[in-house]
């Protein structure tokens, strides 16, 4: 371990240290003084993590005995994760105040969850990935149930914990199976373990997949791979493991729901992307691909139909997140094709960023319109909003149009990218099913637009006091439009970086 190693892992380290510092400062100082200062301190560390990550852009380096790797994709995702954490901390100050919830712990939990997610996105060794996912998940369980006085929130936390802990065990089992299968295969074929890499390292697995004949279709490995992929899909809220997502999003306060929905997807899909790139072009038999197609289409259908008749807007966003996870999996599917891989990685990255911005913004509107910290959750509460609060209605309208993939929003471009990658890998009928799903989803989003603009309301003006949420929502809406019209100016350079430096493949070893 040297300075270079620490620099490579700088972002998660800064977030973790920041979490501890925030927690200790909160402990040491008087309650009233900490509100502003704690937020400031937390933001400071988030920004430091972003800067640290940014200094690593444009190069490919591994650290901690090849346990982690940093390249364009990791930098993009770490910056995004830090930004999500910072925005969540800013947007939550109002609800924490209203419910008299402890603030120091809250900020610390957000930052620790973010640190775990960052470890996950940069891990090259599956054991590191497991450590990352646990750090992230444990913080998530607490956050989901953070409003202890409210039954729904407690229920969400308990459900999330029980399911999550179970899935972690499966993940670990999958990693163990992969470890065993890689070791056996390499021994049997007289292959050397690459110098400085362990059996659970992505690079070793890649070598086994590509150099050992028949390894990709060996039952032991495939079982391990399916367990690994399946449990990561759970973390990302992909159907059929989606049951907990709508409950959690409805139970948790809106800013937390936004944080959980985005951070988990960013982290899980990034590590999945890495795993899928080593599977690309390898002979893994039909079964693996079929399972992935199943995940994608099931999510799209279940998510969109589930969203169609919700009464609660947070549940609607919960189901919508399932559907969007499905589209991301479609992109992952395209990344299995050797030719469409580069396009697919760009598309998935763009999709994740776009989804994160839209979702954070949507939940921020829910918090913005809330009263006394209670979210404006019932869709009926949005009736006539266009007349009462035009700004909020237009902002939410932009997010809904983006979620349904209408042109001139970022949602259109991200769907376009995924479909282009998918069709160039030859999945025509899959694309058609996905398009049908989109049409169903469209109805769900239009219902809310219709409530907001097409009806008069009998309700009184809702005086919104949550300035922070308002700020977050409006800036996210601006980004949605700007990125939908001129994505190149806003974000495309970083994606190109991620494609220019593809995730480590077996070639690096030789």
């Amino acid at each position: 371990m040297n300075f270079s190693d620490i620099h490579a892992a700088g972002a998660p380290i800064l977030m973790a240290v920041g979490g501890c510092v925030v927690l200790l400062t909160d402990l040491a100082s008087k309650r009233s003084a900490t509100r502003k200062f704690g937020t400031f301190l937390a933001i400071l560390f988030c920004v430091a993590a972003m800067v640290c990550s940014y200094t690593l852009a444009g190069q490919l380096r591994t650290a901690f005995s090849n346990g982690i790797a940093v390249e364009g994709l990791v930098v993009t995702m770490q910056i995004l994760l830090a930004a999500i954490a910072a925005v969540t901390i800013v947007a939550s100050s109002e609800i924490l105040q209203s419910f008299h919830l402890p603030k120091g712990e809250y900020r610390a939990l957000i930052m620790l969850a973010s640190a775990g997610a960052m470890v996950l996105v940069q891990s090259l060794d599956l054991v590191n990935a497991f450590v990352g996912i646990e750090i992230m998940s444990v913080a998530f369980y607490v956050l989901a149930g953070y409003r202890r006085a409210q039954a729904a929130s407690e229920e969400a936390g308990a459900k999330y914990f029980l399911m999550g802990a179970f899935v972690s065990a499966i993940l670990l089992f999958g990693i163990a199976l992969i470890y065993g299968s890689v070791g056996l295969a390499m021994k049997a074929n007289g292959l050397e373990l690459p110098q400085g890499y362990s059996f659970t390292n992505i690079v070793t697995i890649s070598k086994a997949i590509h150099d050992v004949p028949g390894f990709g279709t060996s039952p032991l490995f495939l079982l391990g791979a399916v367990m690994l992929v399946g449990s990561l899909m759970f973390k990302a809220g992909v159907a059929p493991f989606h049951m907990v997502a709508p409950d959690v999003y409805q139970g948790a306060p809106a800013p937390i729901a936004g944080f959980l929905a985005t951070t988990s997807k960013v982290a899980a899909f990034t590590i999945l992307m890495r795993f899928f790139t080593i599977m690309a072009g390898a002979d893994t038999g039909a079964a693996f691909k079929v399972i992935v197609i199943g995940f994608a289409l099931l999510s799209i259908i279940v998510g969109n139909t589930g969203a169609a008749n919700q009464k609660s807007i947070k549940r609607l966003f919960g189901y919508s997140s399932v559907a969007h996870a499905g589209y991301i999996v479609l992109g992952l599917l395209a990344s299995l094709g050797a030719e469409s891989q580069a396009a697919a990685i760009t598309a998935v990255t763009f999709y994740i960023v776009a989804y994160a911005i839209t979702t954070i913004g949507s939940f921020a509107v829910v918090a913005w319109l809330g009263k006394d910290g209670e979210d404006a959750d019932a869709i009926s509460a949005y009736r006539g909003l266009g007349k009462r609060n035009l700004g909020a209605a237009v902002t939410l309208g932009i997010f809904l149009l983006s979620l349904s993939g209408i042109p001139l929003t970022v949602g259109f471009l991200s769907k376009l990218g995924v479909f282009m990658a998918l069709l160039s890998s030859g999945g025509t009928w899959i694309a058609v099913v996905a398009l049908i799903g989109s049409a169903i989803g469209l109805y769900a989003y239009l219902r809310v637009i219709s409530e907001m603009f097409f009806y008069d309301s009998s309700q009184q003006e809702t005086a919104s006091s949550d300035g922070a949420s308002k700020l977050v929502a409006v800036s996210a809406a601006t980004l949605v439009i700007v990125m939908g019209v001129f994505p190149s100016q806003a974000l495309l350079p970083s994606f190109e970086a991620s494609v220019a430096a593809p995730p480590v493949s077996g070639d690096e070893v030789k």
């Binding site: 266009g386 149009l401 209408i406 042109p407 001139l408 259109f412 471009l413 376009l416 990218g417 479909f419 282009m420 069709l423 160039s424 025509t428 694309a431 058609v432 398009l435 049908i436 989109s438 049409a439 469209l442 109805y443 239009l446 219902r447 637009i449 219709s450 603009f453 097409f454 009806y455 001129f486 994505p487 190149s488 495309l492």
Partner: protein, 488 residues
């Protein structure tokens, strides 16, 4: 002058932004000013000028997202310049003659101006992805306009309209992406050359033909993809309805002529008998449904299905005269139906009802108005010396020798239209007023001049159609054009 189309699009958009910022009472003047200048400018579009590329003039190219193949590529031929002119013209009369709802004046003008501008982007686009983006984005202002300012059933109408048309256009999107993957370009002219040269995978072209046909037929409300139309038209506020029925529905026929047939390969040719048959069915179906209505707005709305049936037949039948007639008839339908919807709006505003059972007495109360309305009706039933006659006659003439049965059936629809339109006029205009205390329809100066201008156009095109026909015949389908790529 290559930036012509940018000016035509930008002026209403600038006016839209300004109109939504200023005070409510100035919004209308700004909207009129912006759309009127755009309309005047678009007259220059029908003259050949600027850079010329493979039959298109005023060709303009600028990158938008070159990595995705998305470019600001514009160009006009006779057909698209006429349709751009129609759109800008309808935008002007919509803002002049139809008063904005009091609840949200600025949003109302914003939606109309943006819808018109995006429709023009679609008509003038030579990049097929840009076309798609405009085609779909133009739905948002219509959605909002129906939902916010529409009739009693507005929420349902808006959602139904939007979901129906978006499903169609999503299919189109998948087909466009397929073409891009096969050819590496979204550029229309390049695609056309490649398809004509026969180097594109036929199975892709088949998918493109099917998907684009569904998308465009939905837009043009061809039976059986017309289900959104009735509720949508009846509930759309008249100003937006002028654009929706007059200009945006034409995007469907335009798409068939411009994209489905040239880019769909041989399979698209084999779809023609089906499309012609569906067109003939639309003519008859529209006539029957219109005849059964008692709401005059509904009569005109369903008569649109019937009229679009003719236009679709002429567009696809593969005869030059019929296609020119079809393009001209798109213009005519925009003018005539627009005029009828405006009259309908006056009647419901002054008389408080659109039901034929509650009207009557207008002929004696409002002589000028009712005579103009009669003229518009004549144009709608395609009486000789009105514009409708020229278009329908050319379509039927050109279609007859290729599809005699379908054309014969469609011709019967012309009789039908005379029946239901004149019956509607007879019940709503003549006789004594059927409801007490109804107001007399009095036209202001601007309203009167708009209606007179429309009447002049109707007679003008009917008497001397040849200049417009010459322009309409320039629609990218010269004889044999599908067989060999044109040389630059």
């Amino acid at each position: 002058m290559n930036e012509l189309i940018l000016v035509i699009v930008a002026l209403p958009l600038i006016a839209a932004v300004l109109a939504s910022l200023v005070q409510e009472k100035s919004a209308k003047s700004i909207a009129i000013l912006g759309s009127a200048i755009a309309c005047l400018v678009s007259i220059f579009g029908i003259t050949t000028g600027g850079t010329i590329d493979r039959g298109f003039h005023h060709v303009f190219n600028a990158p938008w997202l070159p990595k995705l193949g998305l470019m600001f590529s514009f160009g006009l031929d006779g057909m698209s310049s006429l349709l751009v002119l129609l759109t800008t013209f309808l935008t002007v009369i919509a803002v002049i003659v139809i008063p904005a709802p009091k609840s949200a004046v600025r949003a109302y003008y914003l939606s109309i101006l943006v819808a018109g501008a995006l429709t023009n982007v679609a008509f003038a686009s030579l990049n097929i992805l840009l076309f798609y983006i405009a085609f779909e984005a133009a739905l948002i202002p219509v959605l909002m306009s129906i939902g916010m300012f529409g009739g009693g059933d507005r929420s349902k109408a808006a959602i139904q309209f939007f979901v129906f048309t978006v499903i169609g256009s999503l299919l189109l999107l998948s087909a466009i992406i397929g073409l891009r993957i096969a050819t590496g370009t979204f550029d229309y002219l390049t695609l056309k050359d490649l398809v004509a040269a026969g180097v594109v995978d036929p199975s892709l072209l088949r998918w493109f033909a099917i998907a684009s046909f569904i998308a465009f037929a939905t837009k043009a409300a061809v039976v059986p993809l017309h289900a959104w139309l009735g509720r949508a038209y009846i509930n759309t506020p008249t100003g937006m309805l002028l654009l929706l029925s007059g200009a945006m529905a034409k995007l469907g026929v335009y798409g068939l002529i411009r994209f489905t047939l040239p880019l769909g390969g041989e399979f698209a040719e084999s779809l023609v008998p089906l499309i012609v048959t569906l067109g003939a069915v639309s003519v008859i179906y529209g006539a029957f449904v219109a005849a059964a209505q008692t709401d005059i707005k509904a009569v005109i709305a369903f008569s649109s299905i019937s009229h679009m049936g003719y236009i679709v037949i002429g567009a696809v039948v593969g005869d030059d005269a019929a296609r020119s007639g079809s393009v001209l008839q798109m213009l005519n339908h925009g003018i005539t139906t627009g005029a009828l919807f405006i009259c309908c709006d006056f009647i419901s505003r002054y008389r408080g009802s659109r039901q034929v059972t509650a009207l009557g007495g207008i002929w004696s109360d409002s002589p000028l108005f009712s005579r103009l309305l009669l003229l518009f009706t004549f144009s709608s039933v395609a009486l000789p010396l009105t514009n409708g006659f020229v278009g329908e006659f050319l379509i039927l003439l050109g279609a007859f020798h290729k599809f005699p049965y379908q054309t014969a059936i469609a011709s019967a629809g012309a009789v039908g239209s005379a029946v239901y339109m004149l019956w509607m006029i007879q019940r709503s205009i003549y006789g004594g007023s059927k409801s007490e205390g109804s107001k007399v329809i009095s036209l202001g100066v601007s309203e009167r001049s708009v209606l007179l201008a429309l009447a002049l156009m109707i007679i003008g095109i009917g008497v001397a159609p040849s200049p417009l026909l010459a322009i309409a015949s320039d629609n990218g389908h010269k004889v044999g054009a599908a067989m060999q790529p044109e040389v630059k």
